[in-house]
Structures are given as structure tokens and as C-alpha cells.
């Protein structure tokens, strides 16, 4: 059992003032069998009332509206989460996660990669996922700034480089093509300055997790914020506003761990 404190701050600066700004944040840890939220809060600047809601996939959201002109937007999420020693979620399967989504639609190259992983029919689900992750790890080089938030799994594989989002999309695509339900998870881990993404796969009644970027199964230490078909369902911040501007993004993340028991 681990108790983890996190503080996640994002500041977007606009080159000119914007107004009529609507935002939607998925920046709150989920309460589930693996992680227990002890305390959590979210502040938004310029200060506004925020409302909570839950999306159709079960993620908690904060939403709000800033009508007046402003030239920056900042939100700060912080809290404390108790993580158990094994990342296992007892949940009924939404069969949606068996089918391709916009970002994870397989192309021939992905299907070839699936073949190359040479899965055996009698492999356990976890064995299969590990094999797929290995095959992927050999085919994709970690390289920031070669892909962006719009890159699909197929495009990333073609480029041969990517970041956690691309690894995650590709592994999801491989799993679903192999008949294994898989979903995208956005969250936080220790020692990284940014948010992270990983894969949950469904194995006989339970979701388990694997981090394809580091090519390792996840036991604990990861704070889960949201899940969905792909990145699009899990964006931490989504907003629309009026104004023609350039945006600059600064992110600050600290995750501190207090081991307990």
C-alpha cells in the first residue's frame, strides 16, 4: 500500500485576450478498487465556479465558463491517493473496448506487427499482451516532438517514433485486433514532468494494466485519471473560446510518495 500526493498545474498563455471560454477538465483521480482518493481539489484561474459531471464512460469532469476577456488560463489539481499493491479492477466489460476507434484503427502494418508477435492460442491474456508490448517496443523508438496529439496509431508506426500516447494507441490497436479488450488510460506517475498514458486490458472479469512506453506490467505507483477508447476520450483539458491567438502551454507536475505500512 502506498500513499501518494500529487500536484498538477497547467498554465496556458494566450498571445492576445480571449473570451467566452468554455472548458472541460478530466484531472481527477478515479475512485476504484485499486486506488482510493483521500482528498482532491481543483482550482481554476481566472477564478470561476466549476461544476462537476460524469461522462458516459464513467470519468469525473470539471466544467466551467469564463466570459470575460483573459490572456491566461490555469488549473491546478492536487490531492492524495492511496494505491493498493496490485492494479486490478473488478468491472463488467463494456464491449465497446473490443472494437477499433478513430485513433486505433489498424492498418496492414499493424496487422503485420500482430503476426510478428506470434501469439499462441493457449497463451494467457497477460502473456499475449506482454508479447505484443515486446513486439511494439522493438518497433517504436521513444522520441518526443515527432508526433502530436492528432497522430493515429497507424501513422505513429509508419514514422517509427512516438511518445506514451502513441505507444498506448498502438498497443490498444494490437490488443483489439487480437480480440483482447483494451482501453486508453490517462494518468500520473512519479518522476515524469508530464501526464502519462498506458493501457488497461481485460482479462477474465478484471482490468489489468501495462505501460507500453516502458514495456512493463503495472503493479502500483500509477495514478489513474480517466479511461476511454483512445486519447480523445481522455483529454485532460478541452476548451473552446473566442479569439484568434497563439497558445503557449506550461505544465508542472509533482508526484510525491509516502510509503506506508
Amino acid at each position: 500500500m502506498k500513499q501518494v500526493r500529487y500536484n498538477y498545474k497547467t498554465r496556458v498563455t494566450f498571445s492576445d485576450a480571449i473570451h467566452s471560454h468554455f472548458f472541460l477538465l478530466r484531472c481527477t483521480p478515479q475512485q476504484n478498487g485499486y486506488q482510493q482518493v483521500i482528498m482532491e481539489k481543483c482550482h481554476v484561474y481566472p477564478q470561476e465556479n466549476i461544476r462537476t459531471a460524469t461522462d458516459s464512460l464513467g470519468n469525473k469532469m470539471y466544467s466551467g465558463f469564463i466570459g470575460d476577456r483573459h490572456n491566461y488560463f490555469e488549473f491546478e489539481a492536487s490531492g492524495e491517493v492511496k494505491l493498493s499493491d496490485s492494479y486490478v479492477l473488478d468491472e463488467k466489460l463494456n464491449r465497446l473496448y473490443l472494437y477499433p476507434s478513430v485513433y486505433t484503427r489498424p492498418d496492414t502494418a499493424i496487422l503485420e506487427l500482430l503476426n510478428a508477435a506470434s501469439l499462441n492460442a493457449d497463451d494467457s491474456v497477460t502473456d499475449k499482451v506482454v508479447k505484443l508490448s515486446d513486439a511494439l517496443y522493438r518497433s517504436l523508438e521513444y522520441s518526443p516532438q515527432t508526433t502530436d496529439i492528432n497522430t493515429t496509431a497507424a501513422q505513429a508506426l509508419k514514422i517509427g517514433k512516438g511518445v506514451c500516447q502513441d505507444y498506448t494507441h498502438l498497443l490498444i490497436s494490437l490488443c483489439r485486433s487480437a480480440g483482447i479488450a483494451a482501453r486508453y488510460v490517462a494518468g500520473l506517475i512519479e518522476g515524469e514532468g508530464y501526464t502519462h498514458a498506458w493501457v488497461e486490458y481485460y482479462d477474465k472479469g478484471y482490468w489489468r494494466a501495462i505501460d507500453p512506453t516502458h514495456n512493463r506490467l503495472i503493479e502500483t505507483g500509477y495514478i489513474k485519471l480517466s479511461h476511454g477508447r483512445d486519447y480523445d476520450d481522455c483529454s485532460i483539458e478541452r476548451g473552446v473560446f473566442s479569439g484568434i491567438v497563439q497558445q503557449q502551454l506550461e505544465v508542472q507536475l509533482t508526484v510525491g510518495v509516502n510509503e506506508c505500512q
Partner: protein, 437 residues
């Protein structure tokens, strides 16, 4: 009817006067053109209509139950009537609508069902349009004008009035309206191809025509914005903006036509949205095949209206049949609409046939194949000459407290001989549809 034909010019003058236009984009430039009107009406007998009407009501009731089921428990899938792949891999299925119950449980407020009449006299469903079916305004106007220019025609022929469409529409809007708020028609804007219809229906239903910037969600409620930041609560929105552009925080984030947070207001039951978001799953071309099964499953009734005989390459038996008989079939891409992505096997050369066969083998779920129906041609005036052209009928069914079929419809015909494509976006024309009293 003879006098009606003689009055063709007078009718066109009136059409021009009312400003009946249909927008089209040619080479990226917006043009408005008249939707060509043919004065010879399509006449449907009382007996035929009574049958069609019952069949349509049955179909729409089943489709509405299907939508409530799909965005809820999905019994029809767990009972094995529809393979789950047809749901989850359909573009029309929107997980964002899961668990949302629309006001008064109505999903399909306005259905536009396209029918054709085969040579043996039977009526066959070509497709269901359950998102934003358009075209109802044209027959209303045609009737308004023809009654003016040729009153005697309507003394001799006993025809059911069709000018009550706006009041049927308003009744539906009122039924689902939340908290007795404002009724609004949302148009994507002046340069939408159906803008004329949006403004016309707003006028005739005495509702407000709103443009995207006029509506705002605050505290999970929808408001119409007035001068000086005044706000008026909206209870029902008849939106003519497609699902993917409806709420940029939930769907396409680049949409400028949408209303941020509309989906939250809708999910919390604070506004009725018609038609309901997510209806695309029920009018997916691949799902059409299953509608008769839905009727049996949800209503325990025998389907009255038949589909065009359809094959789903997804099923291996069907695939085999399609590949072997492709020359006699019409192939449709399930992801396309408006008459696009429709191919006739008999018009394709060997190379094209090989190509389509390969596509069908590789992506069976993307295609459907139908038998080419030998349907009745209708008489159309071309200059002074009368010619025969392919035509279909879009019937409009409105659901509120009851399910009602509008006693008319949009009869569209192909302008070219042997053409099967009747869509107005592809140059088709229209006729009034007379239902005998």
C-alpha cells in the same frame, strides 16, 4: 390536372417570389438554385396509403425502441438478434450518448423514410433517415401555390391537405419541451444547403430561428441570448446541425457551429434535442437489414413494409452471394449519404468490379448490397413533352405523444433517363404527393 400543367409558369413565379432556393456548392463556391418542380403530382390511393401509414408507424416505433435499448441495456445484442460489431463499429454509434434518456423517451422525433414502389405495386423501404431528414417544406409550398393557381383542380380531386406539417412539428416540439421553455430551430447558417427550409419551418411553427452564436449553456441549462446579455430559457431545440458538430467539448472540437456543453444540459434532462444525438446508429445503412428483425423483436409484430432485398457481406453466405452476383446488385458504402457511394454492378467494367470485390472482401462490414428493384417510373414534364423518370418518396413521420405520418411526402425524381439518383444535391427535382381522401 390539365390546368395545373398549364399553370407551370405561374407556379415558378410563385416559387421565385417565396424565395424557395436550394443551396449547392460547386467548386467550393456557394450557389443557390431553384429546386426543379414538376407540376404532375404523384397520387397515392387511400388504400395504398392506409397500408403504408401503418407500416411506417410500426417501423418508427420499433426504431425508437431500438435506440432506447442500444443506449441502455442492449438487450437486442445480448439476445443475439444483432451482432455487436454492427453497433460498436458503426460511425453512428456515439458512446457519449450512453445512458442518456431524452425528454419523454422520444429519440426519433422526425423520421424521413425513403420508399419506392415496385412494378408489382408493393412499397419497399430504401432507407431510414433518422438524424436530420430534410425536404418537408417543398411539398407544403408546392401545395400552397398549386391551390392558388389552380383552385379547380382541388375542387375536382379530393386530396388530403398537407399544409398541417408545421403544426404537427410544433406539436412534437411542445410535447418534448422541458419546463415550458422557448422552442428554437437551430440552423448551421445562411450558407447551409437547406437554410431556406430552416427559416421556413421556424416561421411556420412560430418558433425562433437561432444561429450557432445565439445559444449558450449556463449552469447546465440552454438559453437564447438577446441584446444586452438578456437570456431566455430554451426548452426544445430542433437542431439542423449534425451530431458531430453539436458540442465542441464532446464531439468535433473544431466545430464553430456547436454549442459548448449542450450535451451536459441534454444529459441532465434540461433541454430536449430533436432529433436525439446518436440516432445515426439506427439509420446506418448496415443496420437497415435488421429493422424487420427489430419489429419482430420489440413489437412482436410481423413487419408490414419490406426492405429492398439486402445482403451483408459481413455474413459469409451473403458475401459469397454478393461476390458471385455482383453484376446484378447495387453496392452501397455504409458510411456515405446523400446518394454518394452508390454503385451499380452492371455499370462497372472488369477492373472496377475486381476493385470493389477486393474492397468487399477486405472490409465486409463497410458495404451492403441490394437487389436492383425494378420500380415504377413517374411521368415528368420536360418542356412540353412528357417523359418517364425514376422517383422515390420520402415519407415524414412525427413522434410525440403519438406517432403520426404526414399525409403527403417529398417525391423526388431523377432528371436523367435511366438515372436512379434522385437526391436534390445531385440535381433531382420534386413533385407534390397527393394522398386521396
Amino acid at each position: 390536372m390539365h390546368t395545373l400543367i398549364q399553370q407551370k409558369e405561374a407556379v415558378n413565379k410563385w416559387l421565385e417570389r417565396i424565395g424557395v432556393r436550394f443551396g449547392v456548392y460547386k467548386g467550393g463556391v456557394f450557389h443557390e438554385q431553384l429546386f426543379p418542380f414538376d407540376p404532375i403530382p404523384r397520387v397515392i390511393s387511400r388504400k395504398d396509403w392506409a397500408f403504408i401509414e401503418k407500416g411506417l408507424v410500426q417501423r418508427v416505433r420499433a426504431l425508437n425502441l431500438f435506440l432506447a435499448d442500444i443506449y441502455g441495456d442492449k438487450q437486442i445484442v445480448s439476445d443475439g438478434v444483432i451482432p455487436e460489431e454492427f453497433i460498436y463499429s458503426s460511425k453512428g454509434y456515439l458512446p457519449q450518448c450512453e445512458g442518456i434518456m431524452p425528454s419523454k423517451k422520444v429519440y426519433v422525433h422526425i423520421a424521413g423514410i425513403d420508399l419506392v414502389q415496385a412494378r408489382d405495386g408493393s412499397w419497399i423501404v430504401l432507407e431510414d433517415n433518422l438524424r436530420i431528414p430534410s425536404g418537408a417544406s417543398y411539398p407544403i409550398i408546392a401545395r400552397t401555390i398549386t391551390r392558388k393557381v389552380s383552385p379547380h383542380t382541388f375542387e375536382y380531386n379530393k386530396i388530403t391537405d398537407n399544409r398541417n406539417y408545421p403544426s404537427l412539428l410544433r406539436k412534437t416540439m411542445d410535447y418534448v419541451n422541458v419546463d415550458n421553455g422557448l422552442s428554437v430551430v437551430l440552423t448551421p447558417g445562411r450558407f447551409n444547403s437547406a437554410f431556406f427550409e430552416h427559416s421556413f419551418l421556424a416561421e411556420k411553427t412560430e418558433t425562433i430561428l437561432a444561429f450557432p452564436g445565439d445559444l449558450v449553456v449556463e449552469n447546465d441549462k440552454l438559453y437564447y441570448k438577446g441584446i444586452f446579455n438578456s437570456r431566455e430559457r430554451v426548452g426544445v431545440i430542433y437542431r439542423r446541425v449534425a451530431d458531430e458538430f453539436l458540442d465542441p467539448l464532446v464531439f468535433d472540437k473544431t466545430s464553430l457551429l456547436g454549442i459548448p456543453n449542450l450535451m451536459q444540459a441534454y444529459a441532465k434532462g434540461n433541454v430536449a434535442v430533436m432529433n436525439a444525438p446518436g440516432n445515426g446508429i439506427a439509420d446506418d445503412k448496415g443496420l437497415c437489414y435488421f429493422v424487420p428483425k427489430m419489429i419482430e423483436y420489440y413489437l412482436q409484430e410481423t413487419p408490414m413494409l419490406q426492405n429492398a432485398p439486402t445482403y451483408l457481406p459481413y455474413f459469409s453466405d451473403d458475401r459469397k452471394y454478393v461476390l458471385e452476383n455482383i453484376r446484378n446488385l447495387v453496392i452501397k458504402d455504409v458510411s456515405e449519404a446523400g446518394g454518394y457511394g452508390v454503385m451499380f454492378g452492371r455499370d462497372m467494367n472488369a477492373e472496377e468490379l475486381d476493385n470493389i470485390k477486393r474492397l468487399i472482401t477486405n472490409e465486409p462490414r463497410r458495404w451492403i448490397a441490394q437487389e436492383v428493384i425494378d420500380f415504377i417510373d413517374l411521368e415528368v414534364l420536360e418542356g412540353a413533352e412528357s417523359v418517364y423518370r425514376k422517383a422515390d418518396l420520402r415519407a415524414f413521420i412525427l413522434s410525440g405523444e403519438t406517432v403520426e405520418v404526414w399525409q403527403s411526402g417529398l417525391t423526388r425524381f431523377a432528371r436523367q433517363q435511366d438515372s436512379f439518383v434522385v437526391n436534390s444535391s445531385q440535381g433531382g427535382g420534386f413533385k407534390d404527393t397527393w394522398i386521396e381522401k
